[in-house]
Symmetry: C2
Subunit: 345 residues, 2 copies
DNA sequence: TTGAAAGCGCTAACAG
DNA sequence: CTGTTAGCGCTTTCAA
């Protein structure tokens, strides 16, 4: 049950009657060592349950084969999927990941970056929508290679990967327009930073193309992108007069919370009011009604981010896009059951 | 932009005109060193942007201040919350966490345990519902201290923390019984292992107390605890004749998927059929109708698991329960809007 | 093909 | 109060 006495290469060397460097070579499959010797050493290592010390190796080689992932909220369905994507590739390369979240606290974010650096991660995956050039300046640059995920930080760092949100909400708005909606509301995210601006802009774009503008009364704002914000938004929608016939939420989480309140108030979706989300988190397809939204490839975002980092570290990658400095992903419109033509008055 | 030349204590020592051990002492706040010297050293360290190498420290002290968290699916709302709880305490202690998931592959699970050990984590948090005594035997024991989370593995390891699921489904079933339901179905999870058994048993218990039994026609089984399984379950429910008036799902995710299909089929919840979940993931309260479920304290589960691990490592913990070998958490019934008396025939 | 030796950055006796 | 020394487990010259 207790620690089974740590076996080192020295111990193996002693038992095999060779030097520890030979053991090191054998275990690392360096071709120089004599086949029989190598076989004997490997057998012994296996028998003794030898485990190489990643710590020692890291100290010596200056490479840890560890990636650091930093993001905002640990329990976010969107980033959970991104993380799953990251893990799937990282695992194939024999890397491990440190994961931590800064819970919207920039000071903590900086602390995490330093901790990760002290722990000698090879690269950082920064899933922060709020990191800015200014912040980077204050920190005096990043101590390790990093790729920005989900943040168009090209002005700050060469490596970033993000989704074209603006086209997304534009497509979504066009869809609503085509259905005949004119009174379209947008639910913002006060914490959304660049994401908020991009998504809102997409709505404005589409509206402008149709010769319309985003009515200030329908230009709503919620504190964040969580479910509760959706509920808050719903109250605002209910208070509007005339009521919008469609509302496009910052993301699916908001849409979810919004739908509940609207439905509880007796409104039928989509008959009385159409609702659209953004992101297409796995949940979206399972809501009632199934949510119309814009699909962002979350898993792929994670996979590519990880590959981009690995590429920077000199690992061979399969996806050619991972070799680009800036990667823009395109999503696609997912029309489901929560949107329909506006009710006839 | 690039690596700003790593500063070590030797470098600081050179510049301060002292030995590197003095630097080490000063930086670790050992009281022996002269105040002025210490101040000078610390100033210098700050100025040079010194970062201690956690790797070197780990190698020397045999303590990494890293915990390994292993679980099944990376993108699971339940475990996301648990992980958030873990992180919240771990962060306070200056620990970091490796996170990885084995995606229902036992071989991979074992591999992860070995990797974590090689990376010298101080303790393991095993959120595996499928790990068994036999598996442990085959592995020849765990190489590092571990606490089992969400698995009553007392026969295997001294340290485990879990929730009393059986009482949970029992309370849920009693609630349904009190509402007047008699045709109560249970949605199982073929992958659920012990959890499945416990939850199903709670239903059987409550039914037996009421002089009833779980009708085999209502003793349903879905492949897993995901949303899609809920949809599968819904088809089974719809095919039942007579139809159950209430269904208790393995967890909230199932309930979610089930509700959508039922609602799409034109059934009103709870008017036509009552639905209950299990876990009370944050989402549950925001569904329409808000889901009746049994609250498992997910965050607390994570917090306590982390504290239990930290306690094993000799760290002072605040929650006295964390010093127990086996911790059982109690949840509570959350009656919301998805359950009501059965329809009058 | 193998061994001896150095050293990664740090902590911790032990001496002074 | 401070310096010297050794060594954590490994990789990697350099010689043999």
């Amino acid at each position: 049950m207790s620690t089974p006495k740590h076996v080192t290469i020295k111990e193996i060397a002693r038992r095999a009657g060779v030097s520890h460097s030979t053991v090191s070579r054998a275990l690392n499959n360096l071709p120089v060592v004599a086949p029989e010797t190598a076989a004997r050493i490997r057998a012994l290592a296996h028998e003794l349950g030898y485990m190489p010390s990643a710590t020692a190796r890291t100290l010596k080689t200056n490479r840890s084969r560890v990636l650091g992932v930093i993001y905002n909220r640990i329990a976010d369905p969107f980033y959970s999927e991104v993380l799953a994507g990251i893990q799937s590739v990282v695992h194939r390369y024999g890397y491990s990941v440190f994961v931590s979240a800064f819970e919207y606290d920039p000071r903590r974010e900086e602390g995490l970056i330093r901790t990760m650096a002290a722990r000698q991660v090879d690269a950082l995956l920064l899933c922060s929508t709020t990191f800015t050039a200014q912040r980077l300046q204050e920190m005096g640059g990043l101590p390790i290679p990093a790729v920005f995920v989900h943040n168009r930080a090209t002005d700050v760092l060469p490596h970033s990967i993000y989704h074209d949100d603006r086209s997304g909400t534009r497509a979504l708005t066009q869809h609503l327009l085509e259905l005949g909606h004119r009174r379209i509301a947008f639910g913002g995210n006060a914490r959304g930073g660049l994401l908020h601006e991009q998504r809102r802009q997409g709505v404005v774009d589409a509206l402008a193309e149709a010769g319309l503008r985003l009515d200030p009364a329908y230009d709503l704002m919620a504190p964040d992108g969580q479910m509760r914000s959706g509920a808050i938004l719903a109250e605002q929608v209910l208070a509007c007069s005339p009521r919008p016939t469609a509302i496009l939420c910052f993301n699916d989480m908001q849409a979810l919370g919004l739908m509940q309140v609207l439905q509880t108030a007796g409104l039928r979706i989509p008959d009385d009011i159409s609702v659209a989300g953004f992101d297409d988190i796995p949940l979206a397809a399972f809501l009632y009604p199934a949510l119309t939204t814009y699909h962002q490839p979350q898993w792929e975002l994670g996979e590519l981010a990880a590959q981009a980092a690995l590429h920077m570290l000199g690992e061979p990658v399969t996806d050619p896009r991972a070799t680009f400095d800036v990667i823009t992903l395109q999503g696609r419109l997912m029309v489901r059951r929560s949107t329909a033509p506006p009710p006839v008055p």
